[in-house]
């Protein structure tokens, strides 16, 4: 470095110049705007999550309702079929009655299980002369074969000729009932009423010199699903539980501009600070208790702390405390003097008592529940604060002299997607919507819209029984 450069470097070394005050004011404003932008992004994220969850819940719910209705239709159809069957099979009733007689006759006489007659029968059965070759068919006997019961020797031969619905297979050779399909066609409806358990099978150990390996196959008729016995696994339903809950989301005071924070002299406001809609944040936490009042209906209630806040800027001159801002906010009156814009935060705090009814769409390890209800919100206080710490916070509580309503009512709508952990615990994600039925301020003060909240909650449930 030459002497020229050295001279200049020395001349500027350690030098300082004071910038004007407006630099920090602008930086402060930009920082507040950037924070607002970050908050907006978070809020948009929460809104999207909540909307997606609600849509998902609705989709699952619709599917559940559709399937439920479908099952009801199927059951109704089966009942109709059941009612219709006896008339359709009147002719078959005679057959069935005779079948029963035949069965009882078989049983009473013991003709296939005792004495020589049985032996003869078995011999015939195992004889190559049998019409079915090596196979033996012991049938449920229809009216034709019932006559043959009286003639024991011919019993098996005749019974194997047709109308069989059971087969005994000896060895690896299966006796096919050639006429089965035609029988099935003829007696399709009646077969549903055949009590297969009543049939007596040939006592296999008595067979002499027969193959060692015996398999018994029952050819089952096509019984409609409605007649099958459902061994439905009994779910142990949760009856009483308590849960801790916390939620966060976006708070919309439902006003387009928080002009009340400014002194109504727009020329002195920084452009853009009050031009966009104000959206704040909300969080809540508390405890809930729930009880099942019907198979799919639950009731929940509890107590929660609710905080709804918004960030904004103000140019109302309030050098030490924010009382002037609070006054202008609630009275909708212009401030006497203005200053450079500064950031402020307004937070409303409530104690909320929600009462909700829930419908369980899915009540398994994974659960889906749609909740709706109302909450009574007891106003605690509104606090105006300056994030920079330059001004003292100002709080306004509830009461007769307060501009804020002491009690508010809100509508609640939420879906609850849950997962059961072990026998006693369940965790759930609860996207929800919360709409106040009235503004937070009393009607005589500054009017504003009804605020609402989109949030996503988390619940941890302990199941008592």
């Amino acid at each position: 470095m030459g002497k020229f450069e050295q001279s200049w470097k020395e001349a500027f070394e350690g030098t300082e110049l004071s910038p004007s005050d407006s630099v920090w004011v602008n930086i402060n404003r930009d920082l507040a705007a950037a924070e607002g932008e970050t908050m907006k992004k978070r809020i948009v994220f929460y809104q999207r999550i909540a909307a997606a969850s609600v849509l998902f819940a609705l989709l699952i719910g619709s599917l559940g309702i559709y399937r439920w209705n479908d099952n009801r239709g199927q059951i109704a159809q089966n009942k109709t079929l059941e009612n219709a069957l006896p008339s359709v099979g009147k002719e078959k009733d005679i057959v069935n009655k005779e079948d029963r007689k035949a069965n009882s006759a078989l049983s009473d006489k013991g003709n296939l299980s005792q004495g020589n007659e049985r032996t003869e029968s078995v011999n015939e059965i195992t004889s190559p002369k049998s019409t079915s070759g090596l196979g033996l068919n012991v049938s449920k006997i229809n009216s034709k074969t019932s006559a043959a019961i009286k003639n024991d020797k011919n019993l098996i031969k005749k019974s194997t000729s047709q109308d069989l619905n059971q087969s005994i297979v000896i060895g690896n050779e299966i006796t096919e009932n050639k006429n089965f399909s035609s029988y099935q066609d003829q007696n399709q409806n009646a077969m549903a009423f055949v009590d297969l358990g009543e049939l007596e099978l040939l006592p296999i150990p008595e067979i002499h010199e027969g193959p060692k390996m015996v398999e018994i196959i029952r050819i089952l008729p096509a019984i409609p699903g409605a007649f099958m016995v459902h061994n439905e696994k009994k779910t142990v339903h949760e009856q009483v539980w308590a849960s801790v809950t916390a939620a966060a989301g976006s708070y919309n005071p439902n006003i387009n501009s928080y002009s009340n924070y400014s002194s109504f002299s727009a020329s002195q406001m920084n452009s853009g600070s009050n031009s966009s809609s104000v959206v704040g944040s909300s969080y809540s936490y508390g405890m809930l208790a729930g009880v099942r009042v019907a198979k799919r209906i639950v009731l929940q209630s509890g107590i929660q702390y609710l905080n709804q806040s918004i960030n904004s800027t103000s140019n109302i001159s309030s050098p030490t405390s924010l009382d002037q801002v609070a006054f202008a906010l609630v009275n909708n009156s212009p401030a006497s003097s203005v200053t450079t814009p500064y950031a402020i935060n307004s937070a409303n705090e409530f104690v909320s008592v929600p009462v909700q009814a829930g419908y369980l769409f899915i009540d398994r390890k994974m659960g889906l529940q749609l909740n709706t209800g109302v909450s009574t919100e007891f106003f605690l206080r509104n606090t105006l604060s300056d994030p920079s710490g330059q001004r003292q916070s100002y709080s306004q509580g509830a009461g007769q002299d307060s501009p804020y309503r002491s009690v508010n009512f809100s509508g609640l709508l939420s879906s609850e997607v849950s997962y059961k952990l072990g026998d006693r615990y369940r965790v759930s994600i609860v996207p929800g919507f919360h709409y106040s039925f009235s503004p937070v301020l009393k009607p005589t003060y500054n009017s504003s819209g009804n605020p609402f909240v989109w949030d996503v909650g988390f619940r941890f449930r302990y199941i008592f029984r």
């Binding site: 470095m1 030459g2 002497k3 020229f4 450069e5 050295q6 001279s7 200049w8 470097k9 020395e10 001349a11 500027f12 350690g14 030098t15 300082e16 110049l17 004071s18 910038p19 004007s20 407006s22 630099v23 920090w24 602008n26 930086i27 402060n28 930009d30 920082l31 950037a34 924070e35 950031a343 994030p387 920079s388 710490g389």
Partner: protein, 181 residues
Amino acid sequence: MLGEKELISGCAKGERTAQRVLYERHCRRLMAVCSRYAKSMPEAEDILQEGFMKIFNSLKTFRYESKLDTWMTRIMINTALNHQRQKLYLLPMVDVEDAGLREDEKISLSDFHLSELIAIVQELPDGCRVVFNLFAIEGFGHKEIAEMLGISEGTSKSQYNRAKSLLRAKLETVKVKYGKV
């Protein structure tokens, strides 16, 4: 009083009080830097404001690999360069040989007030001013300056020599004007 680490931590968390303290500690030094690169004081304040926003947004990434002062100055210089970039048309003004300056020439600036010196620098053409600041005050080489500004090394040298020539002439003018000779 907040220590440097606490201050950085607070700023990274977005605490306005910490940000204000950091600003108060460094704004005057950095304002002097910005004023050398700007054409005017309002422009210097714009650069300062933009630079501080970048500093607050980037403090989360500060790894203590350099001194905070150096890191902040570098951010401010980069902000100033970006601010000037649209205005910079760094064409070679004169040949290196034409500068007519002796390398070891020592000049006396002690008779000048800081505001006078800054005013003299601010009167330089944009390209000359930037190269002069980077070379003479910040100590970058012409090769580095060429890379930083996306120009050739020769252009950087030409701009610098032009700056030297202009500065000498302006210093002489001021001396005569205010009787500092």
